[in-house]
Amino acid sequence: MIRMRRVTKIYKGNVYALEDITLDIEKGEFAFLVGPSGSGKSTFIKLLIKEEEPTSGQIYIADTNISQLRKWKVPYLRRKIGCVFQDFKLLPHKTVYQNVAYAMEVTGKSRRLAEQQVPEVLKLVGLGHKLDAFPDELSGGEQQRVAIARAFINRPPILLADEPTGNVDPSLAEGIVRLLERINEAGTTVIMATHDKAIVNTFRKRVIALENGRIIRDQDRGVYGYE
């Protein structure tokens, strides 16, 4: 599903964010991307949604070389990749329902389709009873569930989560990752960047460990591995 070949990203001022990354992530996999701050996790995610361009190397998503993707096609790439972030990125003046429906609206889906699917997906993430709440009326964990519902509403083959438990109460963090696991079980490839040791050690998924922009470990059913 995702192939990286000798991918290097150098930011201005000769800062190596990623260096010579080569890896494959198969369809239906669940992978943790771990490493301390500044190890290149966020750059990894940004390269996949073409928010940044690699300095060298090739990235393939579903057999498409995204380095050669024309600019106007980038939105269609992003429709294949759901994204969840530490800061939720919800619209404060829209309700839970509207926030999720928004992702359908801007990709040209009909309002009727949204009326069918949005409550369904919100029920899936456990918020079926809070359709009309505003984000600031929800806990961090609930807001992240809304964000996950929005990322999932268009059924993308890939879901990227960048520190999704970072602003969530630790007791609720596991529930968030369970949700991602369920989405993964439904067939979506999930990549989650995190430095939450407990979570990684609990779930026992593939662990890709980054340090100073290099892969130092890539292990199935791995553990966090940093002290």
């Binding site: 949604i49 600019k71 106007w72 939105p75 269609y76 790439l77 992003r78 429709r79 994204c83 990125k89 619209l91 928004y102 992702a103 609206e105 801007v106 990709t107 040209g108 009909s110 309002r111 929005r150 990322a151 268009n154």
Partner: protein, 299 residues
């Protein structure tokens, strides 16, 4: 249909949010287009006046004294026809009675100008056309210097010199007007672009999320483009109303009251001018939003 409703509601919401800026932008669009309209109408009026006058440019009028005898008149006519630069078929004699009749005809709406005339003050005259309008000066000189019975010729007149002066003045006015319109249009484009920049800034969070969930670039841009264009459209509508008011309450009055100037607006001018003003508003709005989008919206 769904999309159109979405764009319309986004545009309207955004316009309402920065109403003051939007009103300022609309006002400048209206002023620039309004001045354009007035310059075009004024220029048209005066160029029509000059055209009316120019029809007489090749014309020379020779006014004869009332004391001129029939023999003297015949000699003068023979001389006029013999001038090589004069078109001999266009030498016409106009008696003072004909002259008065023409005068009455031309000012029939203002009878006070001629009602109380007892004795006809207009002279007998010859009207002639030169073969080439540029020879008017030469012909005037020949008549003044070589004609027989020159003491019977009271005056020799041509229209060309006055018209030239007038044309120069109106050309200056037109140039100043066009420069002013262009300068104002640039200000209008910049002001529209400021309102769009503010709108983009106010919605930067939403734009980020739209990009994230895969909205196409044009889907993100359209509401801003529509906002700019609708500012341009409203501005042009205001400008058209102002231009129409100026036409009805000022220009039509001038034409009516200054008939001797033979002012007029070409028929069909407004049918061309007003759509052009609307187009100008759309172009100003589109340029303004394009400029803002190009600078402040990376998609």
């Amino acid at each position: 249909m769904n999309k159109i409703a979405y764009f319309a509601s986004e545009t309207w919401a955004s316009l309402r949010k920065n109403l003051i800026l939007a009103v300022a932008a609309i006002a400048v669009v209206a002023v620039s287009l309004g001045i354009l309209g007035m310059v075009v109408m004024g220029w048209n009026m005066f160029s029509n006046m000059i055209k009316n006058a120019e029809r007489k440019v090749g014309e020379v009028d020779i006014y004869l004294s009332d004391l001129t005898t029939e023999e003297e008149r015949a000699a003068i006519e023979a001389f006029l026809v013999s001038i090589p630069e004069v078109d001999p078929t266009k030498v016409t004699y106009k008696t003072k009675d004909q002259a008065l009749q023409e005068f009455k005809e031309r000012f029939k709406d203002q009878p006070e100008l001629w009602e109380y005339i007892d004795e006809n003050p207009l002279p007998n005259s010859y009207e002639l056309m030169t073969k080439d309008p540029k020879d008017v000066g030469l012909v005037v000189g020949r008549i003044s210097n070589e004609a027989p019975f020159r003491d019977r010729i009271e005056d020799v007149k041509s229209a060309s010199s006055a018209i030239e002066k007038l044309e120069n003045i109106f050309d200056k006015f037109r140039q100043i007007g066009i420069v002013g319109v262009i300068a104002l249009a640039i200000v209008a484009v910049l002001l529209v672009s400021v309102t769009i920049q503010v709108a983009i800034f106010a919605r930067r969070r939403e734009i980020g999320i739209m990009k994230l969930v895969g909205a196409t670039n044009w889907f993100i841009r359209w509401p801003f483009v529509l906002e700019g264009i609708s500012e341009g459209l409203v501005g042009s509508a205001v400008a058209i109303l102002v231009a129409l008011a100026v036409k009805v309450w000022i220009l039509d009055k001038l034409i009516e009251n200054l008939q001797f100037l033979r002012l007029s607006l070409s028929p069909g001018l407004l049918a061309v001018l007003f759509p052009c003003m609307v187009l100008g508003g759309v172009v100003i709005g589109a340029l303004g939003s394009a400029y803002a989008l190009g600078r402040f919206l990376e998609v």
